[in-house]
């Protein structure tokens, strides 16, 4: 690990053409290997912030650096993988071919692709489904394919926009555990947008609490729960204290806005 931040955001604002100011004066550093959650009320611009980090939207003001490069350069260098709330799988591709798509674009050989896909299928526990098409999978399985696809080229940074938001509670908790296992195994940095306070606390090293429009960083809560975390982590008193702290910060942020 080097000491330059995985993501460095300075003085970032975003105004849309409609006149809406989505983000104002965001400063945030994410260290390599961190698991950062962005949480905030609807419309606070957390998805917008994620897209700006991914160079899918341009900021109006301020700078974003990813691994010491401009966000644009980082995107061209395949420095990050992204997962959306919906799996956004390509219907005409099988599970394997969906996972292998970024590798095709990186011109990996067929043998290397196949080998990597097998590893990933094991990682997200989807062995035996490689030849299925997306419509044959449940929502949770589709999302696991999307995660495998984002991890396929081993990006240093994983951007996740409410990836489990559309799933039922049980699937969500199981995938939370799986994601932590994957994160600990891969050593990558994760920026994770969520609506769920317990989810943010359970997963993250730090929770970034954002205020309502225009989105600002209202507070940053350090989560000092030890890893590896397990289902029983959710029952620890410290977990509840942190959930309460994030909730109070969120309420404060809304009042301030």
């Amino acid at each position: 690990m080097n000491d330059r931040p995985a993501v460095a955001i300075q003085g970032l604002s975003k105004r849309f053409k409609t006149g809406v100011t989505a983000l104002a004066g965001i400063d945030l550093d994410v260290q390599p290997g961190e698991f950062i959650s962005l949480i905030g009320p609807s419309g606070c611009g957390k998805s917008t912030l994620l897209r700006i980090i991914g160079d899918l939207i341009d900021p109006s003001d301020g700078t974003v650096e990813v691994n010491g490069k401009t966000a644009h350069r980082a995107r061209l260098d395949h420095d990050y993988g992204i997962v959306f709330q919906e799996a956004v799988l390509y219907d005409w591709r099988t599970v394997s071919k969906n996972i292998a798509l970024p590798l095709e674009l990186l011109r990996w050989s067929k043998e290397k692709r196949q080998q990597r896909v097998e590893e990933l299928l094991r990682l997200v526990e989807l062995e035996g489904f490689e030849d299925n098409h997306p419509w044959q999978l449940s929502g949770g399985m589709q999302q696991r394919v999307a995660i495998a696809r984002a991890l396929s080229f081993d990006p240093a940074l994983l951007l996740m926009d409410e990836p489990f938001g559309a799933l039922d509670e049980m699937t969500r908790e199981r995938l939370n555990l799986e994601l932590l296992r994957i994160w600990e195994a891969s050593g990558s940095t994760i920026v994770f947008v969520t609506h769920s306070i317990p989810e943010a606390v359970f997963l993250s090293t730090r929770v970034v609490v954002m205020s309502a429009r225009p989105g600002r960083v209202a507070a940053i809560v350090d989560v000092d729960l030890p890893y590896p975390r397990a289902a029983r982590t959710r029952e620890e008193p410290r977990f509840f204290e942190l959930v309460t702290e994030v909730r109070e910060r969120l309420a404060g942020g809304e009042v301030a806005a």
Binding site: R51, G54, L56, R75, L76, D77, H78, Y80, G81, I82, F84, E86, V88, Y90, D91, W92, R93, L101, P102, E104, L105, H133, P134, W135
Partner: protein
């Protein structure tokens, strides 16, 4: 195919086949019961008899016309797909040209048949192909373009996140995503191409053509032969449509919207 699959298929097609046979029987019974004259409506048995007696000349005429239809279909559809690709890639061209394409689609193109016969020659099969091609062009263009441009924006965003170039986005996302729409256009075009070829022949063509056969038979009050010609034209049209539909099934079996109405 397994026995179960065969049974299911028989079950799927059974009702339609039954309605078809009942329709033929009813037709025959009504014509006999009300003593309808041949020139108004011949009996199905007579049409079948004529189809058999004239099988050689009818078959040749049918194949001749089918070739015109296929040629026009191939030409019009490939131009339609190509234009859709260009318009989808250069949006300004789409904005500039699509209003005219939509307007031209409302023009009764069949009315141009005598002009095309004049341009390319009455006996030249290309004059019929041209009509069929123009008829095929618009539905294929409009449907394919819709397919290419109505892709889920996040699917495109994802490709951008992989730093994929424009060619890759087309090859890997836009074109495969457009296939169901494109086939909707091609299915319409398959029917239109047969109509275009036959109506084109009504305005003049070689006597070996099916349209001319039907026209001449009517002119000489041989309506049973005209009906036989129509039945053959319909059969070829349905077969052509079926072939396009089969190609669609082979290439878009992944499409979830196709599954929505499956009963299995």
């Amino acid at each position: 195919m397994t026995t179960a699959a065969l049974q299911r298929r028989a079950f799927d097609w059974g009702p339609a086949l039954l309605v078809f046979l009942l329709g033929i029987v009813l037709w025959q019974a009504l014509v006999v019961a009300f003593d309808v004259q041949d020139f108004l409506l011949p009996k199905p048995t007579e049409i079948a008899q004529t189809l058999w007696d004239e099988r050689s000349s009818l078959w040749h005429a049918g194949v001749y016309t089918l070739k015109e239809a296929l040629g026009g279909f191939a030409l019009g559809s490939s131009l339609g797909i190509l234009s859709a690709l260009v318009f989808a890639n250069f949006r300004w061209m789409g904005t500039a040209f699509m209003p005219f394409a939509v307007a031209a689609n409302a023009v009764p193109i069949i009315a141009f048949a005598p002009i095309f016969n004049n341009w390319f020659g009455l006996l030249n099969p290309f004059s019929k192909m041209a009509i069929a091609a123009v008829l095929c062009f618009f539905p294929v263009l409009i449907n394919t373009l819709r397919g290419l441009t109505s892709v889920d924006p996040r699917a495109i965003e994802l490709m951008r996140s992989y730093a994929a170039g424009n060619v890759s986005v087309f090859r890997r996302v836009r074109i495969p995503a457009s296939l169901p729409h494109m086939f909707a256009g091609l299915k319409i075009a398959s029917v239109l191409s047969m109509i275009g070829a036959i109506v084109g022949e009504y305005f003049g063509g070689p006597t070996t053509a099916l349209g001319v056969t039907i026209l001449n038979a009517s002119a000489y009050s041989n309506f049973t032969l005209a009906w036989a010609g129509i039945v053959l034209a319909s059969a070829f049209g349905i077969l052509f449509y079926g072939a396009v539909a089969a190609a669609e099934r082979l290439t878009t079996s992944w499409d979830p919207s196709r599954r929505a109405f499956r009963t299995e």
